[in-house]
Symmetry: C2
Subunit: 226 residues, 2 copies
DNA sequence: CGTTGCATTGATAACATTCAATAGGAGTGG
DNA sequence: CCACTCCTATTGAATGTTATCAATGCAACG
């Protein structure tokens, strides 16, 4: 089997795409995939689990993260509705995934037949997801490697406000300060201080509800985000 | 043109693969692509350049990096022989690329016809490159977000020694301390101090040539790298 | 054999972390 | 509706790690 050998190590989805194969889609499987609802803080998969499925967020928010042996955590990304996560190169998941809020997910089999059928839309989405994941990761390396706490928070708030598409109004961050800290390479305290300082400087407003943030001066934030 | 619409935003290479197209390969173009030799420190492409080509390192080392407006630099990756770099999702390069040492490169057109011909090996390589790039980036986020200077250096030295496949012997790092610093999110001084400390602790040895490093205790390094 | 550029080392300062305490909101049960 | 509790966020003080500034050392090269 030359194809199998040649594509060894590649996810079946893409291997099939590259080989130009088109396996007929069983009538019982819909494009939308199965649904799954997970409670807030519940685990979706863990590092090392067999990566037989990948997911698309329908509603709610999901975090994917890695742990160091001593418990230090790095949150790779927060996945919002429409985002795909859980795609892996190898046989196993390289991240842990948990729901940040209660979340509804579309579950897809990793097998090519679920993708290479008449509808190529999902396959394209999968590739696009991989790429945007790569771009996000690259930008995030800049943030983690070279930006100050203030700049990290500014970047994060701006990105979230764009992704959540809250037109100028207040947004409610779905995640805790701890989650933000582990995403931005800071401690909870540093996050809190930086957020407070941005408020004092008038770039944002902080309603009594601690998860809410109002972007007051997007331009100044963008300047900080550099 | 439905295909063009459906694959909008995807790199032609992958769009063609997904669509199952197979454009004949002109006889004048070899699988190996064109060659290009660049001097040490020379620019290969810059952020914002049209991304018409991508590259494979034949010999030498290349760095890809981003800059902040005030000059802070984050080196995304060092590319060793066999590595592919310069692949982009959009029309423009999102990184700068420079030769670290004199380097020989294979230059490939981004157009699908250079890939989807009789030989699918390169196409597969391209996808694999994208994925391994993603995995590297994800691991690097853990390093940048959560590891100490010592741990970063340990991780880096171990990774380099593996990638350069120097069987137990000494390796000559191709890049300067400044490059290491900008890759690891540190300053030159911190890199120097951490390297020195690893030597004092007996985990590595530092021959008089400052680019040389001998891994003395790979296990202890791996423990540090966590 | 001096020059040049990078690396190392030293002293100090800044920023973020750590440890510790307080405050504030959300939810609960009376 | 109000106390009470719990949990998270905030704030404060001290510490520590890394950055910054400055000087020296060292190897490669002409």
């Amino acid at each position: 089997m030359q194809t199998a050998l040649a594509t060894a190590g590649l996810p079946p989805v893409l291997a099939a795409s590259l080989a130009g194969r088109a396996v007929p889609l069983p009538a019982t499987e819909t494009r939308a995939g199965l649904r799954r609802t997970v409670a807030a803080e519940a685990e979706i998969f863990a590092e090392g689990d067999r990566a037989g499925m990948f997911y698309k967020v329908v509603s709610g928010v999901v975090r994917t993260y890695k742990l160091l042996s001593d418990g230090r955590r790095q949150i790779d990304a927060f996945h919002l509705p429409g985002d795909i996560f859980g795609l892996e190169t190898g046989a196993e998941h390289r991240f842990n995934a948990e729901a940040v809020t209660e979340a509804k997910l579309e579950v897809h089999r990793r097998e090519p037949r679920a993708l290479a059928g008449g509808d190529g839309a999902l396959a394209r989405e999968v590739v696009a997801a991989m790429m945007s994941g790569l771009e996000r990761a690259q930008d995030h390396m800049m943030l983690l490697g070279r930006k100050s706490a203030r700049e990290r928070i500014a970047t994060f708030l701006l990105t979230m406000s764009r992704r959540m598409a809250c037109g100028g109004a207040a947004m409610e961050l779905p995640m805790s300060r701890t989650d933000m800290a582990d995403h931005l390479g800071l401690t909870v305290e540093s996050v809190s201080r930086a957020v407070t300082q941005l408020e004092r400087d008038g770039l944002i407003a902080l309603p009594p509800n601690r998860r809410m943030v109002v972007v007051r001066d997007a331009k100044a934030l963008a300047r900080l985000a550099a």
